[in-house]
Amino acid sequence: MAKRIVINPITRISGFMEIEAFIENNIIVDAKTEGLLFRGFEKMLVGRSPFDAVYFTERICGICSTAHGVASTMALEAAMKVIPTEQGRYLRDIIHGCEFLQNHIRHFYQYTTPDFIKLPENYPLYVTDHNDFRLPEEKNALLVKHYFESLDLSRQAHEMLAVLGGKAPHNHGVFIGGITTQASTDKIIKIKSILNSINQFIRDKMIPDAYTIGEYYQDYYHNGGGYGNLLSYGCFNNYAELGTLYVDPLAYKDGSIRPFYPSGISEEIDYSWYSDDTEPYMDKPKAYSWVKAARYYGIPFETGPLARQWLSGEYRHGISTMDRTIARVLEAKKITEVIGVLLENITPDVSVQKEYSIPEAAEGEGLIDTTRGALGHWIEIDDRVISFYQIITPSGWNLSTRSGNNLKGTAEKALIGTTIQNSDNPVELGRIIRSFDPCVSCQLMYIQMVGI
């Protein structure tokens, strides 16, 4: 008989989730990832001014708010037929890149490393309930030192974001046309200076630290793999003069990489707490989560740093728990390089803003890869207000529920088959789930089925 394990809260993520797993002979035979927060953003947005979507949707998520600002801006630009200038794109993408750095540094040190290193237990915050810590004392001590040092660097990543974005979290800078303000030379040099410190930290500490963890937790290169289907909407790509600096819209399945087609996206609610007419419905039989099931041509896909590193050819060591973490720190380095190139191409003091007017009726989509993966916003405008809004977040892909064809979600599949060393202390579950960088404040929104 299978043993049932429930972990709730899964701490060190953004938001609230539960893992329910069944273990037989120390192997996970079934698993569910359950998102436990519903706010209903898509319903709130109806009737509001389209311009307000940018700052409003940022409030979906405290750690990746810029991602939503970028996606909603792109959806608005599509609806309003505004084509941002290249300078506008560079500036906006610099802000977006700063959010990547903030997010990745915090996710690696504050969210991931406590799974693998022993932090000082005289702080109540760092008391743990297991003892699977394998690093030798001096290496553990070094990573603890870097855990605290990293706080300065992630703070500085938000500082450089605020130089162009006004404040963070929930910046004001990202907007239609690019950003709101101009990049004067004092701002450019300030960002360059901070970027230099962050780049050094990532190169000299963060990347070696990730490989150190990998060295002592080799088994994590062999679990948490899942389907192995990877997808990206692309980011830092398709610039008129600079070409693609990171990754284009691509999908990987069965050993081959193909272009990604937005028309393949769908979202299912068979196992989510929504009625057929899209109202919240917690008494629904079979349903177990507020998360929906994002699919690409009906198939679950993984999205995020590993998908991007794989699709862009930067890192193809493997698809596993540890590879996901390695890919995240390598991506952080890549992003510093991308920001560096964009900064070199900024013309100082250029204003990219115009006086915009809202069309009577229009629709648009904004698809962009962000820190956690593929993010889509879809907007419809009628009578100059938002008449429909739809958001599919990265965690809608990675932390999705089962779909109608009973295919398990990406992270659910990644859990199944894992060997659990001690079923009274199943540390493997949290480690695998955190490698996806779940964001459960993000993904839990009102659903409307649309023919996207």
Binding site: Q110, Y123, V127, G166, Y356, S441
Partner: protein
Amino acid sequence: MIEKNPGICPMLNASSGTAKNLIEKIKSEIMRNSLVKRDLIWLELTGCSGNIISLLNGSNPDFKFLITNMVNLIYNNSLMAAEGEAALDALVNKTGSDYILAVEGAISTKNNGLYNIIGRWKGEPLTALKAVQLLGDRASHVIAVGACATHGGVSAARPNPAECVSVQSILKRKVIKLPGCPCHPDWFLGTLAHILLYGEPELDDRDRHLLFYSMLIHDRCPRRSYFDNGVFATRLGEKTCMFKLGCRGPVTRIDCPVRQWNSYVNWPIRDDTPCIGCAMFGFPDSMEPFISYDTTRKR
């Protein structure tokens, strides 16, 4: 403070004083071993968990100073090493002893609070609603951190699908309110420092810490002269008064113009965007539209 420093501009004083002075005081108390660390519980409830991220952006004091010298941080979902029921142990075992409670996020009341479950204790779901009821009454002080906790904020935006309410709506006791989206790290750390040193700070009639919330943005706005002279921006990116773009500075009480954000490098108006009133009760619904091109023109 002004009396102590005659001749110093009160606007400069307001930014360099406040939280920083309190922290200096704490440092000296620590040196004399007269400050006893208190226990702090930081609950993330129905919201975006952006206030804890903002807290991590604090500099002098920073997060390390907070947990090393000011408080024992007993519980925080985003940062604690423990998980599952072991993590909740710290919360449930806390109810009998002395602690300060900080809450970010609103409280979803729909379906008995089941729209926001923050953990599972002995097989039963622990909702945001139940957690506040469990911990709110016995805390020595309750601090509502950010717009969702102080008045519902974005989580309660119409039509409020999760039926979110403020912390105060659940608790029949004094709740110190630090509205803002997010809360600036100094507003929280300065308030906490005051509690540790002197007890409850001086609050206004809506329980906001007067140190930070006493003056309108408009009163200290560097673009005020443009307003007075009727020079208004018509698009973002201009350097004049953004009143006609929808700026909420004239109704928003907070010290952003002198404090600024993220190691004090910038703030929304300096970024050539209007204030959207995120530190004001009623945000977001009564502060919208955030951006409109000439509010004095009919659309």
